[in-house]
Amino acid sequence: MSATADEPFLQAKGVAKSFAGIMAVHHVDIAVAAGERVGLIGPNGAGKTTLFNCLLGVVPVDRGVVQLAGEDVTRLPIHLRARRGLGRTFQRIELFAEATVREHLLIAERTRRGDGALWKDLLGRGRPKADEIERCDHILGLLGLAELADAPSEHLSLGQGRLLEVGRALMTEPRLLLLDEPSSGLDHDETVDLGRTLRDAQIDRGFGVLLVEHDVEFVSDFTDRCLVLDAGRLIAEGPTGEVLASDAVREAYLGTMGTVA
């Protein structure tokens, strides 16, 4: 681990984004250090997904700056942010159809190495090498997917698909992994399993995590620090336990629950 908690890996300053005149994200500052586990919670429509997309480059910000390891990446496209160490998973899983589990990791490994010249393919050097397969299988073992290495990704359950996304992201050696509602669509036991596996992998690899999540239990188990977003603004920030117990957070959640009901 190169970065310490003092110098944040991901830093967003004054990020704002509106859609058709409605402010989805309102001047938000966040900072996440490499190796840190941070939660991002908030009621429906709080702007979590929009903020996430702004950090990743899926949508352009209206105002503000996004930095990775001190470098301004506000204008960089998704894939260049990914190459600078920003990994992610998806709420609705985005796997590569027609590829096996191991192939998902192999292509990520190739992309990380930047080792994809056409002439190498033409000379037959495009096939996976032993050390690449070994690296992939190591990660698959870490995530408990080793036995499924040759299975088509369509055969995976939703939970396994999520883990495969984590594995694919890990192959790029991310400094920070953005997890987008990893528990959605999973039942309680599956969520607990996923959390345990993620935690083991995180300790083993030392990447940072920014977790967007509805499941408060998951967030309190998994993260040390927590940010709360409501109506596009950051309303609370601090150690997870304290934040979840605070009045402001309860109000934000119960308030919207009241209006929804």
């Binding site: 990743l56 899926v58 496209p77 998704i78 894939h79 260049l80 990914a82 190459r83 990994g87 992610r88 998806f90 985005e94 796997l95 590569f96 159809a97 027609e98 590829a99 192939e103 998902h104 192999l106 292509i107 990520a108 190739r110 992309t111 990380r112 080792d115 994809g116 010249a117 056409l118 190498k120 393919d121 033409l122 000379l123 037959g124 050097r125 495009g126 096939r127 088509p152 369509e154 996304e165 694919r168 992201a169 192959m171 790029t172």
Partner: protein, 696 residues
């Protein structure tokens, strides 16, 4: 001819002159927008529908001697809506959840097949130089001369009147009738509309019938402008209509109408003023004859590339699209080891025997056809790369091939370069053009990418080919675009047998390279992108770079194949080999036989070169009966059949994107494997099955 002295009256003249064509373009564009709005289908077969009505009208009037009214009723008001209705019922209703690109391919298949089916069914042959008749007696005579600047014929005035009343009728329909309200609702959300108790498929049928009626009307109205009734001209019309529809963003009917009319006027204005401008701007002089017909394609390309809003309009598809399972893996990856070996042995034996027969027994004409099949297989591998690997539908592969061919011709003629080297350089030039073209086009994605490639193909066809540094200009018109056969060491390629050998070797090299690309990093990257663009970007894959690579590789392969085809025929023969319509037929052929595999491309090449001679002319039956004299008299069948068969074959692209042959192969493989498995455990199976039989 009246020609005003001032530019003002010239402008007026151009506007009057352009109005009839403009209203007909608008009519077609409305037909296009109607089906796009209500069923998400971007219907490239609309021109074929227009052709069918125009041809039936022509046939009824000229060959059967019908009066105008019944001919018009049957061809436009009965046949056209019925055709639209049938297409929706039989084809598009079942494709609701298919991707927009899959639907586009299906309409291309129909664009190829429909005119052919019609020609076969009615025995219709368009006769060169026989001008189609209009829908008013004495249509070609002058009827009205507004402002004294341009004399409108009765036909032209009729076109304006009919198109304007059709537009007015459509406005009334949308605003004041229940079905119009339903149509607007279906556009917003088919599923919501159904939940409100409206049968959205009925609305969809209605829009198809209406769209087809508009197409038929446009076909009959525009026909008198052509010297000869021919299906490709009507396809050109659709490309113009697409430009108009793109101006209307594919949603706004009034803007679409204005777009069509505007294009007609713009073309007329250019026709009037371009010669004058080119007096002062010399560089215009070389393109001035060609820029006018190219205007719609230039406008279309410009709208697509420069109008950012158009990209956002691509979301018009069923909300359930995308939940379809991906196509199954190719048969070759699932079959058992023994079967794989058996297949390979069979293939090697089959090709060796065929090769030997062709090499030592075939006469010159068969040798020519086989060589052509080999070269086309090579060209079709470019479709394997762009469509099979990258998942993009390119409609300008013929243009890439033509660039390779023309470049070799120019290099050999002007620089005296050796032919094979010129072919290689030509392919590199094609690759560069492919890469450059892909830069603006790639941001479009989906069907707009395909439409932009189509616009490029037509632009090349109407402007570039006529430039002397591309197509050879006047000199080439007189002498042809000649290319010699190469001499390679001791091998003289003027010998057809040696040239066939060279073609086979090149095909094998390219096929081998395509397999390696597919299995290598480039292929895996493209596959990842096709599987999930967001997922691929999240691990650092650059979509633009990967797709530019795919375009460049594909254009390179097409370019080298195009050069080879020109060398075989010792002439580029642009219009018979590489026209935009040829690109469409190639795509349809490869897609219907299998765009995902190298074998698919080879089967398509064989089908292109040999289908006519072997099956349609009955050579196989003659060979089986051991005498050409015994070939039944139904042979030779018309060559039109191949358009019917492969066009209809492309209809299954939405269901089986892997292609017919691949699909059949997988079925056969599974059947054989099941049979083998059953044999292995035969004895217990037999005992168990005999029991119920005796009981019964």
């Amino acid at each position: 001819m009246l020609l005003g002295a001032s530019a003002g009256s010239d402008l007026l003249r151009a506007l009057v002159q352009g109005t009839p064509a403009g209203t007909v373009y608008a009519l077609l564009a409305l037909g296009l927008v109607l089906t796009y709005k209500t069923s998400g289908v971007f219907n490239l077969a609309l021109g074929a529908q227009a052709y069918v009505s125009a041809a039936l009208y022509f046939q009824a009037r000229v060959s059967w001697g019908w009066p105008i009214i019944p001919a018009l009723l049957v061809s436009v008001f009965v046949l056209a809506p019925a055709l639209g209705f049938v297409l929706e019922r039989l084809v598009f209703r079942h494709l609701r959840s298919a991707s927009a690109v899959a639907k586009l391919v299906v309409t291309i298949g129909l664009a190829v097949a429909l005119p052919a089916i019609f020609d076969l069914a009615l025995g219709f042959h368009s006769i060169a130089g026989q001008t189609p008749v209009g829908i008013i007696p004495g249509g070609a005579t002058v009827f009205y001369n507004p402002f004294g600047v341009y004399a409108l014929s009765r036909n032209e005035l009729m076109a304006v009147g009919v198109a304007a009343s059709a537009m007015a009728g459509l406005a009334v329909l949308f605003r004041y009738t229940t079905v119009g309200l339903h149509m607007r609702a279906v556009v917003e959300s088919p599923r919501m509309t159904e939940l409100n108790g409206i049968r959205s498929d009925r609305v969809s049928s209605f829009s198809w019938a209406l769209s087809s009626l508009f197409a038929g009307m446009a076909g009959v109205l525009i026909a008198p402008r052509f010297n000869t009734l021919a299906a490709p001209d009507f396809f050109n019309l659709v490309v113009i209509a697409i430009a108009a529809a793109a101006i209307g963003m594919l949603v706004s009917l009034p803007r679409t109408f204005a777009g069509g009319l505007g294009l007609g006027l713009l073309i007329a204005v250019f026709q009037t003023f371009l010669p004058r401008w080119s007096d002062s701007l010399p560089w215009l002089a070389t393109v001035r004859e060609n820029l006018t017909p190219a205007m719609p394609f230039v406008v279309l390309f410009a709208v697509l590339v420069l109008w950012p809003a158009i990209r956002r309009s691509r979301a018009a598809s069923d909300p359930l699209a995308g939940v379809e399972p991906p196509p199954p893996a190719p048969a070759a990856t699932t079959r058992s080891r023994g079967l794989t070996v058996a297949t390979r042995v069979f293939a090697v034996v089959f090709f060796t025997v065929t090769g030997l027969v062709v090499f030592f027994r075939a006469d010159a004409s068969w040798m020519f056809l086989v060589t052509q099949a080999v070269i086309l297989s090579l060209i079709f591998l470019s479709i394997t790369v762009i469509t099979g690997l990258a998942g993009e539908i390119s409609l300008c592969q013929g243009t890439f091939a033509a660039i390779g061919a023309f470049a070799s011709f120019q290099l050999v003629t002007h620089l005296g370069m050796s032919v094979l080297l010129a072919a290689l350089v030509g392919a590199v030039i094609a690759a560069v053009v492919g890469a450059v073209l892909s830069l603006p086009v790639l941001r479009l994605g989906g069907i707009w990418l395909s439409i932009a490639t189509l616009a490029f193909a037509y632009f090349f066809d109407s402007v570039m080919v006529k430039l002397s540094w591309v197509g050879g200009g006047k000199q080439a018109l007189a002498e042809g675009t000649r290319l010699p056969r190469p001499l390679l060491g001791p091998f003289n390629m003027n010998d057809n047998r040696t040239f066939l050998g060279l073609s086979i070797i090149l095909l094998l090299i390219v096929a081998f390279a395509v397999v390696r690309i597919r299995e290598g990093t480039v292929g895996q990257t493209l596959r990842a992108l096709r599987g999930s663009e967001l997922g691929a970007q999240s691990i650092g894959i650059s979509p633009a770079r990967a797709r530019i690579t795919a375009f460049a590789i594909s254009a390179f392969i097409a370019g080298i194949g195009g050069a080879l085809l020109a060398i075989q025929q010792q002439n580029v023969n642009y219009s018979s080999n590489f026209s935009p319509f040829a690109s469409l037929f190639w795509l349809v052929l490869v897609v219907s036989l299998g765009s995902r595999t190298v074998e698919g491309a080879m089967q398509a090449g064989a089908a292109f070169g040999l289908f006519d001679a072997v099956l349609l002319k009955g050579a196989v039956i003659g060979w089986l009966l051991r005498s050409p004299a015994r070939i039944p008299s139904v042979f030779p069948l018309s060559g039109t059949w191949r358009f019917v068969l492969f066009g209809l074959g492309a209809l299954q692209f939405a269901r089986h994107p892997e292609g017919l042959v691949e699909n059949g192969k997988r079925g056969a493989t599974e059947a054989v494997d099941r049979w083998l498995a059953a044999r292995r455990e035969r004895s217990p199976v037999v005992e168990r099955t005999t029991e119920p039989e005796t009981a019964a």
